[in-house]
Amino acid sequence: MSTRWFGQPIPRVEDERLLRGAGAYLDDLGHDALAAAFVRSPHAHARITDVDVSAALDVEGLVAIYTYDDLPDRLAEPLPLLIPHPTLTHGRTPYALARDKVHHVGAPVAMVVAEDRYLAEDAAERIAVRYEPLPAVVGIAAARAAAHLVHEDVPGNLAARMTQSTGDVDAALAAAPHVLSLDLAIERSASTPLEGRGVLARWDAEARRMRIWSSTQTSTGVRAAVAAKLDLPLVDVDVITPDVGGGFGVKIMHPWPEEVLVPWAARLLARPVKFVEDRREHFVASAHERGQLHSVRVGFDDDGRLLGLDVRFWHDHGAFIPYGLIVPIITSTQLLGPYKPGAYRVTFDSLYTNTVIVTPYRGAGRPQGVFVMERVMDAIARELGLDRTTVRERNFIEPHEMPYDHGLVFQDGRPLIYDSGDFPASLAKLKQLVGWDDFEQARETARAEGRRIGIGLACYVEGTGVGPYEGGHVVIETSGKVKVATGLTSQGQGHQTVFAQIVADELGVPLDDVEVVTGDTRRFGYAVGTFASRAAVMSGSAIALAARAAKEKALRVAGDALEANPDDLEIVDGVVRVVGAPGAEISLGTVAVLSNPLRYAFDTAAQAATQFASGDPAKPPVPEDDEPGLEGRDYFSPMQSTFANGMHAVVVETDPDTAEVKILRYCVVHDCGTLINPRIVEGQIHGGVAQGVAGALYERMAYDDAGQLQNASFMDFLMPYASEVPSSVEIDHLETPSPMNPLGIKGAGEAGVIPGAAAIASAIEDAEGIVLTSMPISPSELWELRRSKETG
């Protein structure tokens, strides 16, 4: 038997080109393209009274300027509301270019196309837009107060109010021996990939085809949106995802205004056009996430067991809500983590503010929910004088209770049913890994040295691999090489490597013979996208099924050629052979030749498939219910998500003078089912943890009352460098295979970030003896908390 690749921590096949600077990111393409730049609103809320382009017209190299009034037909309509929901009664989406009003700083007002970006910006800065400023609604408090409205026709700035419940919460709280109330807050942050958004479009006037490259997490989504907006047949639009310099959620949002405007301009001008976002634009014209306020009441018994949990929260979704209610729905359901809440009721308001839109960022509503639930757990432990792990253990869903139905509806419209997981085992592993039970000694030792240390933990459950579906296509070429395609996209996850591992095992071919393409609608037209930790689960499963279909056919064709029963055949290193009959074999490449009856030979090998060389004269060359070629195509569409889980423990040291927080240890126990490539999974965890630390200690969106983002650059937005993250993330895996898919896998992409703020808050609290109710926390905020504690 040849090597089994599944489960091996092999290095990535993607690396070679990227290490040499030979990757092809969006801006590396389209050297011949015109450049687009945008005039963006400097106001958070204003009426546009005039747009005067006259001063820009004599800029050398200017090709075109477009404003709202130039937009035809469906391009002049608001951009789509991607995910409607019955409770989203007041969904508003922006126009591709502002019409009459701007609703946040950075909103696009005019598009300039010129020979290069320098010239496009020269022209853009000469366009004079006259604004009549309107009061800005900034922050959840202002949105709730609704003294001013973001949209005149949306009362109370309220897009949606949604309630889910199970059991009688009011009765449970009334009867509970202990009831606590907590008010909690999480600030905004953002995905902030190193590469911003970008789009390049070429209109082929002769073929009447549109070809688009976009730095997106969904090429099929962009394709459908552009085809609809430009009134083009879907089959005449190709969308190709080049190498993408990170996504983390922000690039699942689509179509961005630029994604429809650039193809439109390319067709109008009959020249390729490219837009590449700069960093400031990414801060003010893409998307943020996280910002929520929660008000919680929890009832529990003397042992710390939850009896009732009543959660009311407010979600700031920015100026528009194109991505629907996904983030707050995830918060409201995944808040429950590995626990049984007793009776549960959650109500959220999704509110408009005059700020950048909020769409999923890695974790997608879970970091907020986990922060809330884990604060509750710590509060119960404090109230009852119990160890924090004890309270958690007592509330865990036990393995024998799986599958566990929470009685709620998840973000995919499906019931929230955990398929598997062993939470007590995970916690036992975590306690062992971090040395939870021995920590008091370490604390005393540190204290004797004048140092303050603390330990914290947080647990989460993550619904991964949401539907509706993904597909895979596997074709074995006559060279014996295997070409694989799936429609979802890659932003650095290593899909080319892990999908090749799956196919090499399923088919029995060398890994080097497998080549994987993602996110190219020319190769695979049906797909959803890369988000919700779904790529390995969805496309991995679909590709495995497609490979099995190809293998089944290969064995059938080879069985005919070898006059053997397919059940007696195996494929090893790309050769089909009869088990136990040395020499009775045929290469997969030859099988591919034979699978396609030919009239015309294109090379010597192909002669074997021509009409006088092969075939049973008693049957049609291609039997009924069969098709030529050695291919498999299949789709994977599970009934529901599969639920991964994990627990993080962190040890911090807080500086007695400066209140600086240093992470001494960061431990992760992670269960994402079976691992395809542990090296890649660990890399995902490392990166996620860094983003969790960032959201706990550094990153926030500093809007002032006028809606100006004060830190819209990497100078002021404190994205961690190597000097700010834990020096080592210690990882232990638990592998509880998912029963929901053929490979037993669960998603791993988002996990690392989810419990970061909760675990770090728990540890700081433990070090300081101060109750934390909001994250992130800066040294100066911690210092203020200390001072207010001292002054009582």
């Binding site: 030979a22 190193l194 090296r679 650059s713 100078m715 460098y721 190597a722 000097s723």
Partner: protein
């Protein structure tokens, strides 16, 4: 337009540039050396790091005219007759890249660090690459890769 003469990745160029043209735009747009990428415009992310006259610089904060008469090495100039250079190889071996966008700049910064300090401690590595942002890896494997490359270049164990 101003005439500049410089050597980039071993090839001599003589070009007219606008005085305001940044070195990174000159490399990318005029020379087609798109391996060096732009991540922030404010010299914070380091994605555009190249070597200019033996020192690493952020090419988004250097004007092309400032490189006149100079020698520039980009990520595309590290090729050793088809083989990766030791830092590139160490990044591969240690899974020190994911999306790869920061990688060219990170590798150029790491090379500069190792040139000045062939046997850095972990803290020195973290400080040495503190001008380069990575959003994917959490830096842990990048630090390991630089440690491994240091072992390779000095013969010491990592």
């Amino acid at each position: 337009m101003t005439k500049i003469n410089l050597t980039v990745d071993g090839v001599t160029y003589s070009d007219d540039v606008e005085p305001r043209t940044l070195l990174v735009y000159y490399l990318r747009e005029q020379l087609g050396k798109v391996g060096t990428v732009i991540g922030c415009d404010t010299s914070n992310c380091g994605a555009c790091t190249v070597e200019l006259d033996g020192r690493s610089v952020k090419s988004c904060t250097v004007l092309a005219v400032q490189a006149d008469g100079g020698t520039v090495t980009t990520i595309e100039g590290l090729d050793q007759e088809g083989r990766l250079d030791p830092v590139q190889q160490a990044f591969h071996d240690n899974h020190a890249l994911q999306c790869g966008f920061c990688t060219p700049g990170m590798i150029m910064a790491a090379r500069d660090l190792l040139k000045n300090n062939p046997t850095p401690t972990e803290d020195e590595i973290r400080e040495g690459i503190e001008g380069n942002l990575c959003r994917c890896t959490g830096y842990q494997n990048i630090v390991r890769a630089v440690q491994a490359a240091a072992g390779t270049t000095t013969g010491a164990s990592a």
